[in-house]
């Protein structure tokens, strides 16, 4: 096996400057900057900057949602995990999808009808603005920065591995491109960058899937069978990855409910004209994302059979190069270059979406609502949003370089855990529960964020994997099993102990708006005589 490994390493052109990769990469940058230039002329107000003027169609938003959500971690990471562990990797393929139906059933339509730019708009709608917005901004910024660090560090490493560029150069290029998209083109440019990226990623994955299946008589079962023949029947069955059932449930909670609390995903529902369009867009997104994760079954097992787990780990111990290596095996350097460029585009698009949602929390929630108490004029609002974008972009680059070489894989799980334990409970309780109060909302968001950060610190993820201690005080690798119920219960308890009848009284008009939308004025409908009366 080691001789095979040596030949593979000798023949793989991964890590060398690759003309095709460079070509596709510059084509992507040129196209997306062209889109940004076009979008910049249409971005004149905060309504445009944060919500693309609410002109995005359900189909476009569905593809853009898929683009925002499918990160390089899911493309390279899951393909790598399946190619090296088999069935265990597929647990992630399903876990990353199952939050989407929850987004559809509980969140998308009320969010579109109740808010303007951020999820804090919804939580604060009948509560006190200042404390709720500060707490929501803390949850948003914690989620966004952790996700951003994970993406940036991943980007630097990947680009170095695939293009032979230095880590710092790669981070700075990613930072500059994302600042350009968001600063000049706002949500309109960001949406189209997501659409281009989603089409490239789905197209690239579909092409690889077709090329793999062509070698196995178009039968995935024949492919799995070949994997079992080569590496044992164990690759088709649960292995050691899920050794602790509570760990598996806790991670499952974070993935399922964290999706419904990710600020950059929630923000996308404001870009469509109405609640029905929001509903339709999640339906399309679920279809595309599900199709993508089904393809990871074929890509992962394809890489396992055609490239081999040892060779994949030999190039990069985490297995992240499985999909690029598979591409090189199937289509030589040109296909490798294409897939490398797709991976780069994927990272760029995700960080642009994150930056925009972080900028909205800073400028719309903190500056305009808390500091200026809604007294900022339209010009100032847009200026602050742009300053926040540049600030966050620079912060992303600095954090990316600071965390160079660190194990940051846990940060994605942590971002999902905070989203599930701070943002999601506050959102659900404010939508569904009449007696939810300001103090309850602040408690659930602050306690959710703080307890997640604290328990992650004491978990095996940080104590054993990162800090290399022998044991960890808290047993679960992902804390959502504890922190999500804690956030719900503390919010409910505080609201019940200190009821606020005036805040609860606002629930009727909120409920009306939640179903009918902001455009329908209650007074207008009351003018029409009721058929029953």
């Amino acid at each position: 096996m080691s001789s095979l490994l040596a030949t593979l390493q000798a023949t793989s052109r991964i890590g060398e400057p690759n003309a095709v990769a460079m070509g596709f990469f510059f084509l992507f940058i040129a196209t997306t900057l062209g889109i940004t230039f076009w979008a910049a002329r249409r971005t004149r107000t905060t309504e445009h900057f944060y919500a693309a003027g609410r002109t995005i169609s359900p189909g476009q938003n569905g593809v853009a949602l898929a683009g925002d959500y499918m990160s390089a971690a899911s493309f390279l990471g899951i393909a790598g995990l399946v190619s090296t562990t088999g069935f265990d990797g597929l647990i992630y393929s399903t876990g990353w999808l199952v939050g989407w139906p929850v987004v559809l059933f509980l969140i998308a339509e009320p969010l579109r009808n109740l808010g303007r730019y951020t999820f804090a708009d919804v939580v604060a709608v009948r509560l006190q603005q200042t404390p709720v917005r500060i707490a929501a901004a803390v949850g948003t910024l914690a989620t966004v920065s952790l996700y951003l660090i994970a993406q940036m560090v991943g980007a630097g490493g990947l680009i170095r591995l695939m293009f032979g560029m230095s880590y710092e150069t790669a981070i700075v290029i990613v930072g500059l491109a994302m600042i350009a998209y968001v600063l000049f083109g706002g949500m309109l440019a960001t949406t189209w960058v997501q659409i281009v990226k989603a089409v490239l990623l789905l197209g690239g994955a579909a092409l690889l899937t077709i090329l793999v299946l062509a070698r196995f008589g178009w039968s995935p079962v024949a492919l799995f069978s070949a994997a079992a023949e080569k590496y044992g029947e164990g690759v088709l069955a649960p292995g050691r990855l899920v050794s602790n059932p509570l760990d598996a449930i806790s991670l499952g909670l974070a993935l399922m409910f964290g999706t419904a609390g990710l600020p950059h995903i929630l923000m996308r529902f404001y870009t469509v004209p109405d609640a029905k369009a929001a509903r339709t867009s999640v339906f399309y997104a679920t279809g595309l994302i599900g199709a993508f994760y089904l393809m990871t079954f074929v890509l992962g097992f394809g890489a396992m059979v055609l490239v081999g787990p040892e060779a994949i780990r030999g190039v990069e111990p985490g297995g992240n190069m499985a999909a690029p290596l598979l591409a090189e095996f199937l289509g030589g350097t040109p296909l490798l270059g294409f897939i490398a460029a797709v991976a780069f585009a994927t990272i760029l698009a995700v960080v642009a979406g994150l930056t925009l949602s972080g900028a909205a929390a800073l400028s719309h929630d903190l500056w305009v609502s808390v500091v200026r108490r809604e007294k900022a004029d339209a010009k100032e609002q847009l200026r602050v949003a742009r300053v926040a974008t540049v600030g966050l972009g620079i912060l992303g680059v600095v954090l990316g370089i600071t965390f160079k070489g660190q194990n940051v894989a846990f940060m994605v799980g942590l971002a999902f855990a905070i989203a599930a334990s701070a943002n999601f409970p506050a959102l659900v309780l404010s939508i569904f529960w009449r007696r939810y109060t300001t103090a309850g909302a602040v408690t659930s968001m602050v306690l959710g964020t703080a307890s997640t950060l604290l328990l992650i610190y004491f978990s095996p993820t940080l104590q054993i994997d990162v800090l290399k201690h022998a044991e960890a005080w808290f047993p679960l690798r992902n804390p959502a099993l504890v922190t999500m119920p804690l956030s719900f219960l503390s919010g409910i308890l505080v609201s019940l102990l200190w009821p606020r009848p005036t805040e609860s009284a606002g629930f009727d008009s909120v409920s009306r708006r939640m179903h009918l939308g902001q455009e329908v004025q209650p007074s207008a409908s009351s003018l029409q005589p009721s058929a029953e009366a």
């Binding site: 069935f87 079962v221 024949a222 069955a237 598996a248 179903h515």
Partner: protein, 92 residues
């Protein structure tokens, strides 16, 4: 501000909408955590071979994804036909 009949009819539509949402959410939770619990507590059941190359675990994993599609389709279909028309009739 709003007449009582309108408010009562809206409350009925809202209750139906949340009933559907909660039933579907619980179905999704049951499907996914059922799969996770099988992985955790019955790995040998999932290792069972249905065909050469197809274990029960792989089939169920793919079915969880398909079930997510089906549930979102059920909701969108219900909302497009029943919920939207009920909302449209509120003002009549």
């Amino acid at each position: 501000m709003v007449d009582a009949g309108f408010a009562a009819r809206l409350a009925t539509v809202a209750a139906a909408r949340w009933r559907v949402a909660i039933v579907l959410t619980v179905a999704m939770i049951a499907l996914y955590f059922g799969f996770i619990l099988l992985i955790a507590y019955a790995p040998s059941l999932l290792a069972r071979r249905l065909l050469p190359g197809l274990s029960l675990g792989i089939l169920l994993g793919a079915l969880v994804i398909v079930a997510s599609w089906v549930l979102t389709w059920v909701y969108v279909r219900w909302a497009n036909t029943h919920y939207d028309s009920a909302l449209a009739k509120l003002g009549e």
